[in-house]
Subunit: 231 residues, 2 copies
């Protein structure tokens, strides 16, 4: 979520307007992550944001409008930030490994962010206009450069995206429900630590990189990114 | 959904009771698949099922109770039916390939079923008590018999389950939204036919089976199962 900080010489009205907008976006993220876009009313959004019902329309035209703003501001900004950090990498395998771990780490720090992402997975907006476009671009470059060897690119990309989503879900369950930790751990002595790195290694193998190299790439030290401050 | 058919010599009262229960389950599936369990009230369930509010409690104790009944009756029965059909197979790869294709084909025939499954993916109930348990059993047998070669079983299982869920989601979007078909197809000339078979081939490769063999297994003729009549 965009932080609301003072800007020098900003008129009080403009600052308040930004604050209201930010509170509405935060309320939308919280309510829509838990209950889905369709089950949340504008009235509930303004109540949760503690702003008047009418104020909503000073910022957004409709529920779809605030939802799209959330997708654009939160996830697109995250995608851009990760792409920016990733500029030091040239190898698509390094780029994908880092991006996958960022998504998992960000979901760990901000579980609502992860839940919202899970809800929007595989939507047209995510694939074409949202965070999916960044991953898709690097996946396709990796395939065209023959760094990734996949026989069915569409299904491999579905599998990569799904694995990241499944990992977010498992990580979230591990953090919030002792029941599933016990169930999984007892089931076959599964090790449930270090999910971000293991997800990256799994994704690289789906992309045709052998186990040994996938583990080497996935265990490289991560670029320094502040996951709390990220959009 | 369990079909309501006449049973010989069944008293009219018992038959009506079964019909009411079946209508409530059908309404719960429809509403919960679209909006999630938490956003649906018992009142809405009885309205949608066209039964009196009080009747609900002749059949179920609570919203959780009808939800659990749905999980047990619909998904567990499906799991059992697939397991039964799969008895002619001994190779875990054949079993997984068939089960994956059944899930995709069933989701195609009954999109609400698929949507409900997507909602419950990675829940404790699904992994421990629902359909996940059947797949997990075959995955683990495949690993212990060294038919499947995976370095990180937990992550491979997450990846397999997620890939099936992602494929359901993509298949659903392909069927219902021409927009995403256009976007995907135009993006890189992706072929979007035959998703069930391609999902099975992708899953087998995640489990360490080489591309050629995975395609051979996934393209075996399917056992004769009536996906419309299945629970």
């Amino acid at each position: 979520m965009t932080a609301v900080t003072s800007k020098p010489n900003e008129p009080r009205g403009a600052r308040r307007k930004r604050e209201t907008r930010s509170r509405l976006l935060k309320a939308a993220m919280t309510l829509m992550a838990v209950r889905g876009k369709d089950s949340v009313s504008i009235n509930e959004l303004t109540d949760a944001a503690d702003v008047g019902f009418g104020s909503f329309y000073n910022h957004f035209k409709s529920k779809d409008d605030i939802y799209n703003a959330l997708m654009a501001e939160v996830f697109n900004e995250f995608g851009i930030a990760i792409e920016e950090a990733n500029k030091v990498n040239d190898d698509p395998a390094d780029i994908i490994s880092f991006a996958v771990q960022c998504v998992l780490l960000r979901s760990k720090v901000n579980p609502l962010w992860g839940q919202f992402l899970l809800r929007t997975a595989f939507s047209v907006e995510t694939i074409v206009g949202g965070m999916g476009q960044y991953m898709l671009k690097d996946l396709e470059r990796g395939v065209s450069e023959k760094r990734f060897v996949v026989s069915d690119p569409l299904m491999s990309f579905v599998s990569v995206g799904s694995t990241v989503m499944g990992a977010i879900s498992i990580q979230h369950n591990l953090a919030s429900q002792s029941e599933i930790v016990t169930a999984l751990a007892e089931h076959a002595g599964y090790n449930v630590t270090n999910i971000p790195q293991r997800t990256a290694a799994t994704v690289l193998q789906i992309l045709g990189i052998n186990e040994e190299e996938a583990n080497v790439i996935a265990s490289k030290p991560l670029l320094d990114v502040d996951f709390v401050a990220l959009p």
